[in-house]
């Protein structure tokens, strides 16, 4: 066998082997999606956006059997959902360790929208630090590949040449980009979903935009920008705390709010359901309000 035949053979073997850890998830009316067997006792992770509003789905196992599965938790902000199979099956794949993925590595996307395993090939295109999804979910790495996301591939794994899971592919979090949710995020979020059924994120109820602070204030505090309040939702924690249009938010719970990212990070932390100081700038004066951060309501309509 020449090098090319060996490569071809290895790719096919990797797909076949890793395919034992990929299931079909029938969670929507159109084409089924894929899922990754996450634990030997029957946990499966998949893409939240491929499961419409239902609490139970059918899952097709690699050996061809079908089983029912309960949707035990979902997090739209990271596009993750966790299922528990009524009959455990499939194989738990090895996962990549922190730092092992590299830009340029071969990457295979696996999916099982039908009975048999399917695959597309590409490379890891970008691997960056943590970022926040459009819905405000913290994702440990920005992981992008150039694999073709064939219909039904969302929820399936991106694997490397060693057959290890690098992440879960989703085509919905950022449109038109083959984005993968890295293993670290799946581990953290799936654990929280198993424990609480959801990811709690803080909710203030304001629309804000970054604004430059007056020079004297910057000189005193070292903070050059704050968040100018452009809207306050009726009945929201912000309104109850007395936040008004035109206020500039400076800190929440002592955490500096210099940009949107800071606010999302502060709300993602443990700040809910208790009195928290919210420092603002109003009419040129620093004032501290007391706010009780609530829990962000779930998005009302599921995105496809």
């Amino acid at each position: 066998m020449n090098a090319l035949e060996q490569l071809s053979d290895s790719l096919a073997a990797a797909v076949q082997s890793a395919g034992e850890g990929v299931v079909r998830v029938e969670g929507r009316r159109r084409i089924p999606s894929s899922g990754i067997v996450w634990s030997a006792d029957g946990l499966v992770v998949t893409a939240h956006h491929t499961i419409d509003r239902r609490s139970e789905v059918q899952v097709g196992l690699p050996d061809g059997k079908a089983t029912a599965a309960k949707v035990i938790g979902r997090d739209p902000a990271t596009d993750l959902a966790v299922l528990r199979l009524s009959t455990a099956g499939g194989r738990v794949l090895k996962r990549i360790d922190e730092g092992q993925a590299k830009v340029g590595h071969l990457a295979l996307a696996l999916g099982r929208p039908g009975a048999s395993i399917q695959s597309t090939l590409g490379v890891v295109s970008a691997l960056e630090g943590g970022w926040r999804s459009p819905l405000g979910g913290h994702i440990e790495h920005y992981l992008q590949s150039d694999v073709v996301m064939y219909p039904g591939f969302s929820g399936g794994p991106l694997i490397d040449a060693w057959g290890r899971v690098v992440g879960m592919n989703t085509s919905a979090l950022l449109r038109g980009i083959a984005l993968a949710i890295p293993v670290a995020t799946i581990e953290r979020v799936s654990q929280a979903l198993v424990e609480h059924g959801r990811i709690r994120r803080g909710f203030l109820g304001v629309g804000v935009q970054p604004a430059r602070l007056p020079q004297p204030m910057e000189d005193r505090s070292g903070q050059s920008t704050g968040l100018l309040v452009a809207s306050v939702e009726g009945g929201s924690p912000a309104e109850r705390a007395g936040v008004m249009l035109g206020d500039v938010l400076l800190t929440l719970g002592g955490e500096r709010l210099a940009g949107m990212e800071d606010l999302l990070a502060a709300l993602g932390g443990d700040v809910m359901d208790r009195a928290t100081p919210l420092e603002i700038l109003r009419g040129g004066t620093r004032t501290t309000l007391t706010v009780t951060v609530g829990e962000r309501p779930a998005p009302s309509e599921e995105e496809d």
């Binding site: 020449n2 090098a3 090319l4 035949e5 490569l7 071809s8 053979d9 790719l11 096919a12 073997a13 990797a14 797909v15 076949q16 395919g19 084409i31 295979l108 929208p113 039908g114 009975a115 048999s116 395993i117 399917q118 695959s119 597309t120 090939l121 694999v147 073709v148 064939y150």
Partner: protein
């Protein structure tokens, strides 16, 4: 590592050379150019949507031109068979599409946008068993002019005939097993065999 990449590049060039040797251009008056594969001596397999007319001009890999007569056509499978002078060209090595596995490396050759012999690489997404199709679903870019050209495996054997694209990134091909079945049902299998013998 560099050695491996060099070996892969070298092997790719070799496979490309073999795939191109049996590739033909099918030119028809008023229809335009498609591709075809010299399947056996004197027998060119192409798409039904390429061989719209009963007569066409076939250009072989070496640049020779030959007039071709259409022997048969099957719109259901988008296949057509043309007959040329059996002394011309070098026929392809035909592989078994049934052995193709998802993830396996494949190349498509054809004349996309009129570029003769252009090569594109990818992997098998699914070999049948997909959504109600017996076509090969391939993670490679097919373009107008690829139609009727060959999909070859890593050994350079023809395992399919390009037929269409499914969106910009996915190519569909008729498995070589379906071509064989069609040839034998149309009574051309024996002809192909006799010519080859």
């Amino acid at each position: 590592m560099d050695d491996l990449l060099e070996a892969l590049s070298r092997d790719t060039a070799e496979v490309a050379g073999r795939a191109r040797a049996s590739l033909v251009t099918v030119l028809q008056h008023g229809v335009g150019a498609g591709s075809g594969v010299l399947w056996a001596p004197g027998l060119v397999v192409t798409n039904a949507h390429v061989a719209r007319r009963s007569r066409s001009v076939v250009t072989l890999a070496g640049g020779q031109e030959a007039t071709a007569r259409r022997l048969g056509r099957d719109f259901q499978h988008d296949l057509a068979v043309l007959e040329i002078d059996p002394a011309l060209g070098s026929p392809a090595a035909i592989g078994d599409s049934g052995e193709l596995r998802p993830g396996e490396w494949v190349y498509a050759v054809g004349n996309p946008w009129g570029v003769p012999g252009a090569l594109t690489a990818g992997v098998v997404i699914a070999n049948g068993g997909g959504v109600g199709t017996e076509l090969l679903e391939l993670d490679l870019h097919l373009r107008p002019g690829h139609s009727g050209g060959a999909v070859v495996n890593a050994r350079g054997e023809v395992v399919g005939i390009n037929t269409m694209m499914n969106g910009p990134d996915v190519g569909l091909a008729i498995p070589s097993a379906v071509v064989r079945r069609y040839l034998s049902q149309a009574g051309l299998g024996k002809a192909a065999f006799r010519r080859a013998a």
